[in-house]
């Protein structure tokens, strides 16, 4: 083969690879940490977890469209003493609009998007509020903010608490809208995410018959038993490219 022909073949191969990469792209989700604090059987707790998202196609994973988070079977919710936040008020006024006792958790992570050919990374935070605290109707409001380099505030549609498939228990389901920080930017993706949910050691004052009374919110309550091998937890991520990834992890049983 002549030098010219080799060059043509190389360019064709490169072009093919560039074209083929998105079609073969695959997102990978790893739950790098998950647990409960405190991790004692049958007590109110905070659930926490951290995940990273990568893609075989390059530095920008496909944008997330949906996330289901599943906790272990046997986890219960006790939201007595909590309040709720109105989605429209949250959209209009920000977190100030939500009563303190509607806070359900916090989170954040690293986002990434492209403007032209430039990759832009941006830290984001998440605030979780209770949109509904009635047993059987519990749902969360997810308020996402980023500030540098581009300011963004967004309220996701209410995320209902759901019953996961076996061997999981309660979880929640988040519909993630398109996140475009600028009109010329690509839809934003997440490289990492972390969250803490629960009301361990949380208490609020309420007026009862004209008297100020302290209410302890229990929130998430761990099961009274732990299966051999630990509690299974999982997250199911659905991406804009149509792919779905289920990431699993086991939280070790509490030490006796």
């Amino acid at each position: 083969m002549t030098a010219g022909a080799r060059w043509v073949v190389a360019v064709l191969c490169a072009a093919f690879l560039l074209w083929a990469a998105p079609a073969g792209a695959e997102e990978t989700v790893s739950i790098t940490e998950a647990g409960f604090s405190p991790d004692k059987l049958g007590v109110p707790t905070n659930a926490f977890g951290r995940a990273t998202i990568t893609s075989t196609a390059g530095p920008v994973p496909s944008p997330i469209r949906h996330v289901n988070v599943y906790g272990p079977a046997g986890v219960t919710l006790d939201l007595r003493g909590s309040g709720v936040c109105n989605k429209e008020s949250l959209e209009r006024l920000g977190t100030q609009a939500c009563p303190a006792n509607s806070r359900a958790g916090f989170g954040g992570g690293q986002g990434i998007y492209m403007i032209g050919k430039e990759l832009v990374e941006e830290e984001y935070t998440i605030d979780f509020f209770l949109a509904d605290n009635r047993p059987g109707h519990v749902s969360l409001l997810v308020y996402l903010t980023g500030s540098k380099p581009v300011s963004i505030e967004m309220v996701f549609p209410p995320a209902p608490v759901i019953q996961g498939p076996k061997p999981y228990g309660l979880g929640f389901s988040v519909e993630v809208p398109e996140i475009k920080v600028l009109p010329e930017a690509s839809n934003a993706s997440a490289k990492s995410a972390f969250l803490t949910l629960g009301a361990h050691n949380v208490a609020y004052y309420r007026m009862v018959h004209g008297k100020r009374k302290l209410f302890h919110v229990k929130g998430i309550i761990l099961p009274k038993s732990c299966p051999r091998g630990g509690w299974p937890v999982a997250s199911q991520f659905s991406f804009e490219d149509g792919s779905t990834v289920m990431a699993k992890r086991t939280v070790p049983c509490p030490r006796r």
């Binding site: 926490f48 006792n101 605030d127 308020y143 050691n201 949380v202 004052y205 302290l214």
Partner: protein, 269 residues
């Protein structure tokens, strides 16, 4: 109390070079007077990046040589409604001549304090009360928390009188923390310093520790009528006032290794 401990419990804020201890065998009981302090110093702000620290000392009453309720307050602020980094250490410099007498004040074990709170300690180990405001930046929010503070005598450390600052917040997080402090002589123009070690105040996983944004503590008391909220120990205003007023200073060290210093003067009576 052992004689050695009794000696170490009587400290007078004179320059170390002079070193003479002023006996003050007072056991005073008084209300928490911080908010009513009539003699307040003009606060001075300290530059440390965008963090501003200010201290606000005051005496009530402020007569020279008189027993007094001494209130020391500070405020830490950062620009744009941010939250200052968590405070890890603080050294409060007190003016020469200020007397702090802990004679006859029993010590409460730190373990006991941790288990049972101030109520589990001998009532006369309580030497002061105050309050604090804490803040944590969780998610996108700066969440404030009010806390009550108690100052109690604990066993001496390294031969120096020691105090515990027990703070307890109720809402939104029920949280308590114990800071420990030692009293020791200081160089001119100060006479005594209080070195406070502040523990990390945990919030929730992945979110920062809580930061103290303001704090006020009143030590000592006036009057002798026992009251439910009486505090033991005695503080006396210096017998002489230097030109420009009584000097105070505080050095703050933060979890991010930054430092800040604030000074203030209480005008002469």
């Amino acid at each position: 109390m052992a004689p050695e401990a009794a000696r170490s419990a009587r400290l007078n804020a004179r320059p170390a070079a002079r070193g003479r201890l002023v006996p003050q065998a007072a056991r005073l009981a008084a209300p928490f007077l911080g908010a009513l302090a009539i003699c307040s110093a003009a606060p001075a702000h300290a530059a440390g990046g965008d963090l501003a620290a200010s201290v606000h000392p005051s005496f009530l009453p402020d007569a020279l040589g008189a027993r007094t309720a001494f209130t020391f307050a500070f405020r830490l602020q950062v620009a744009e409604e941010g939250v200052p980094p968590p405070l890890r250490r603080m050294v409060v410099h007190l003016p020469a001549g200020l007397g702090v007498n802990l004679d006859g004040v029993p010590a409460c074990g730190v373990g006991r304090l941790r288990r049972s709170g101030p109520r589990g300690c001998p009532p006369r180990s309580l030497i002061g009360r105050g309050h604090a405001t804490l803040e944590v930046h969780a998610g996108s929010q700066a969440i404030p928390e009010q806390a009550l503070a108690w100052a109690l005598r604990i066993p001496d450390r390294g031969g120096r009188p020691a105090l515990a600052l027990f703070t307890r917040g109720t809402t939104p997080l029920q949280q308590q923390a114990i800071s420990t402090a030692t009293l020791s002589p200081d160089g001119p123009p100060y006479g005594l310093k209080i070195t406070v070690a502040i523990p990390a105040i945990r919030t929730v996983v992945y979110e920062p520790d809580a930061s103290i944004t303001s704090f006020s503590l009143t030590l000592g008391a006036v009057g002798t009528t026992p009251r439910a909220h009486a505090a033991a120990g005695a503080v006396t205003v210096p017998r002489r006032c230097p030109a420009g007023g009584f000097p105070f200073a505080a050095d703050f060290s933060f979890a991010d290794y930054t430092t800040s210093r604030a000074t203030a003067r209480v005008p002469c009576p």
